[in-house]
């Protein structure tokens, strides 16, 4: 009896131990095998593993950069340029995808048959075409059909759209930092005002028009810096210059390259379909009784949506939408297909071709995406927790 028990215990323990040891052994062996091969291969090619190349001069140009960059800067700087471009296009994409997605999600639930159907078909069309094909379409087909520089499409004489890109006025600030501080300060003020208003409402039942007060603060404080602080803003409007008989260029202003436009368009239109579905599911997920209860205490339709439905729907909407934001960020890597200089094109493309350091560069690129993904999901988890039901 005793012996039997003992055997049973031992086998149970082994049962747990053996697969774990085998798994770890397998992983370690694979890593060792890969490392040895990699060392041999790199030895044959006369390169050694290391990140020293990052500080070398890159000697290639990047067509679009948010920070100062040319060929004399280092590979690390080129990486930063690529990263910033990725973040830029993701941020633009997330912004428009959210607006478009929420609008379409709500439109799909409209009582208006036409609106609901239009929204439904939008979702069905853009969700079921591969994103890369949409990017190709916008870049190679749609934006290429724009007029030449000479006869650009003119928006009120301040902004011009042509096949070379979109030219918009550039803001030229004096004392910009003061303006920025005033904006930050007004946001802090608004935060305290809304906190105070919430307290007043919860404790005394007083309604304070927070929205108007906030708007006033946001408007007046920065305005004061213009009037008193010596902040001024002027616009540099792009101008058509004739270089030779047939060559025209726009000088001044900010030029938004067609790669960025088509990428942002495709990303936001594609992701908006998924966000729209999330929004629809979220609103449908709110108990019907909640709407009826809200209607029975005399709230208007807009109030029901804003005060009763949306706060509850957001709890359902946010987690899957976070996933969509992550997907959008990862999908922005398709930029490489149309030569928008994002991190994949600049770093995993050009820099890799020049240095031949496949392992280092691909690992840095993948790690960057991993940390971008993780940081978005950490932020969204925090927000999600904030929005979750707080039971008193």
């Amino acid at each position: 009896m005793n012996f039997k028990n003992f055997k049973f215990d031992l086998s149970n323990k082994n049962k747990d131990l053996i697969p774990q040891v085998l798994t770890i052994l397998f992983i370690v062996l694979v890593i060792i095998y890969f490392t040895i091969n990699a060392q041999n291969n790199m030895g044959n090619r006369g390169i050694s593993f290391g990140f020293g190349f990052l500080s070398q001069e890159s000697s290639f140009d990047i067509t679009f950069s948010l920070i100062d960059y040319d060929g004399s800067h280092s590979y690390a700087r080129a990486f930063l340029v690529g990263l910033l471009n990725t973040i830029l296009v993701s941020a633009i994409g997330i912004f428009f995808a959210t607006i478009l997605g929420v609008t379409i999600g709500i439109a799909r639930l409209s009582q208006n048959y036409l609106i609901a159907k239009t929204a439904e078909w939008y979702v069905e069309i853009f969700r079921n075409i591969p994103l890369i094909l949409q990017i190709f379409f916008w870049y190679f087909a749609a934006l290429r059909a724009l007029p030449l520089t000479v006869d650009s499409i003119n928006f009120y004489d301040i902004s011009f759209l042509n096949v070379k890109g979109w030219y918009v006025p550039k803001f030229i600030w004096t004392n910009f930092s003061l303006f920025l501080y005033s904006v930050i300060f007004s946001f802090i003020l608004i935060f305290f005002v809304s906190k105070y208003a919430k307290k007043q409402r919860d404790e005394f039942g007083k309604q304070i028009p927070t929205l108007y007060i906030s708007l006033a603060i946001l408007f007046v404080l920065p305005l004061l810096t213009f009037l008193l602080g010596g902040v001024s803003l002027s616009f540099q409007i792009p101008e058509l210059n004739q270089l030779s008989k047939t060559v025209y260029v726009y000088k001044g202003g900010v030029s938004i390259i067609p790669e960025l436009i088509s990428l942002a368009l495709a990303l936001s239109m594609y992701t908006a379909t998924f966000i729209a579905e999330n929004v629809r599911a979220g609103i449908l997920g709110v108990n019907k009784g909640q709407k009826e209860a809200a209607a029975s205490i005399g709230l208007t339709k807009a109030q029901i949506l804003k005060l009763v439905v949306m706060p509850q729907a957001l709890r359902i909407i946010i987690p899957p939408t976070t996933n969509q934001y992550l997907n959008l960020t990862k999908n922005s890597s398709l930029a490489a297909a149309i030569a928008y200089p994002d991190i994949v094109l600049v770093f995993a493309g050009t820099a890799l071709m020049q240095t031949g350091r496949a392992i280092e560069i691909i690992s840095i690129t993948m790690l960057t995406y991993l940390s971008l993904s993780l940081s978005i999901s950490v932020f969204m988890n925090w927000y999600n927790k904030k929005m979750a039901i707080k039971e008193k």
């Binding site: 208006n112 609106i115 079921n128 990862k330 496949a358 995406y369 993904s373």
Partner: protein, 420 residues
């Protein structure tokens, strides 16, 4: 817009309101129609902006006037509830209708009525619409890639075999269905691959670089799906395992692949993977791509299957254990069959995403449909055909993906009603 100060239409003056409203609506539609098709703007005497908004303005007022509650006229009531429940909705309906009137005819003209279908060179396209001659000439390439023309029957045969086998599996009795499915999953892929790649049995060898077009899309997605399924299943089980070493390595593996974009994974398979192999070994491009896509999709599949595992009530596990079943018997006989059934829609969605991801293999130089379009449009004889090419590729992908998503939605509905 919401507070137009108009008389509220009522049932007493039904005829007056309806005739006045209809008149305004007719005027607004006439304005748009005449403007679109005859190019004449009869509200042109108004200032520029006003003339632009005139039909919207007239139409909205007209719709306001015919909004009579419980008018007794069925047609009118239907319009009012579906398109015209308030001024804002009326306005939106008009915008949608007018946009359709304005933009659908030119699109249709481009697409069909002005398009060219006849001929076999670019010069045959003269009418200004879409040049479908381009697609016609390149159709073979779009479907088979660079696969030699005389050998294309091999691709056709293998796909025909697949359709016949799948079709047969719907009709044969359940007893044989099992064997048929096993054949389909394990033996058929080898036969199909051998038939297409050749090299034995007197078939000419066709290197994978020549494969392409739509057939490659199907080959890549089918193989990746078959391969990623078991890996995803084991990863899902691993992530829910009680053994820390297995759990954490599964979590690490899944999160690593889910955190990076597919394009970097493909880059990795193209430039980094060869570095990890002994010097001189060459792994075929297509196989490298298949490994990369399989591992990538396996991570997503694992999460889908994990969802199914989590949704099962604890009682199922306890019941299986109380019958004395071990870990593997419990999972393969009790847990997985139920969990997988729960997540069939999720699996279908993963497959959908996989199909939509296949064009990315252009990164390693394999050209499926979208890649072939890219290649064809840079052909000097066919410059300027990008629009036609992408619209065609988009349509093909759309039909495939839409059919699949419809099917998965139906499945979802069917399964959810069954479980209730």
């Amino acid at each position: 817009m919401m507070n137009l100060n108009l008389p509220k239409p009522n049932k007493e003056n039904f005829t007056t309101f309806v005739s006045l409203g209809s008149l305004l609506i007719v005027v607004s539609f006439l304005d748009v129609l005449v403007n679109t098709f005859l190019g004449y703007n009869f509200t042109g005497f108004l200032p520029e902006r006003l003339s632009f908004f005139a039909p919207l303005f007239f139409g909205t007022i007209g719709l306001h006037l015919i909004r009579i509650e419980y008018s007794g006229n069925q047609f009118l009531d239907k319009i009012n509830t579906n398109f015209n429940s308030n001024n804002f909705n009326a306005f939106l309906s008009l915008i949608v209708i007018f946009t359709l009137i304005k933009y659908v005819p030119p699109l249709l003209n481009w697409f069909i009525f002005d398009a060219d279908f006849l001929g076999n060179q670019k010069e045959d396209c003269t009418s200004g619409g879409a040049c479908w001659v381009f697609v016609k000439v390149w159709f073979n390439r779009f479907v088979y890639g660079m696969y030699p023309d005389v050998e294309q029957w091999r691709i056709n045969t293998s796909f025909l075999m697949l359709f016949l086998l799948v079709g047969a599996s719907f009709f044969v009795s359940p007893k044989y269905k099992k064997y048929l499915l096993l054949f389909l999953l394990f033996i058929y892929p080898i036969i199909g691959l051998k038939l297409i790649s050749g090299g034995d049995f007197g078939l000419e060898y066709v290197e994978t670089g020549a494969w392409g077009g739509l057939s490659l899309t199907f080959i890549v997605s089918a193989f990746a799906l078959i391969l990623c399924f078991p890996i995803g299943m084991f990863l899902a089980l691993g992530r829910r395992s009680n053994l820390p070493a297995i759990r954490y390595s599964s979590i690490g593996f899944i999160e690593l692949w889910r955190g990076v974009p597919l394009i970097t994974v493909l880059f990795m398979s193209a430039v980094m993977f060869p570095m990890f192999l002994p010097d001189g070994t060459y792994v075929d491009k297509l196989i490298r791509v298949l490994i990369a896509i399989t591992l990538f999709e396996a991570a997503y599949m694992a999460e889908v299957i994990r969802g199914g595992l989590q949704a099962l009530p604890k009682g199922q596990y306890e019941a299986a254990k109380s019958l004395g079943m071990g870990y593997w018997r419990m999972h393969f006989l009790i847990i997985l069959p139920q969990a997988l059934k729960l997540v069939i829609p999720g699996i279908a969605n993963t497959f959908l995403a996989l199909v939509k991801d296949t064009p990315l293999i252009f990164v390693v130089g394999l050209l499926e449909l979208a890649g072939m379009v890219n290649l064809a449009k840079t052909n000097p004889k066919w410059l300027g055909m990008a629009m036609e090419g992408y619209v065609f590729a988009g349509l093909v992908f759309w039909v495939i993906c839409y059919a699949m998503s419809r099917y998965s939605q139906n499945l979802e509905k069917k399964l959810s009603t069954e479980s209730r």
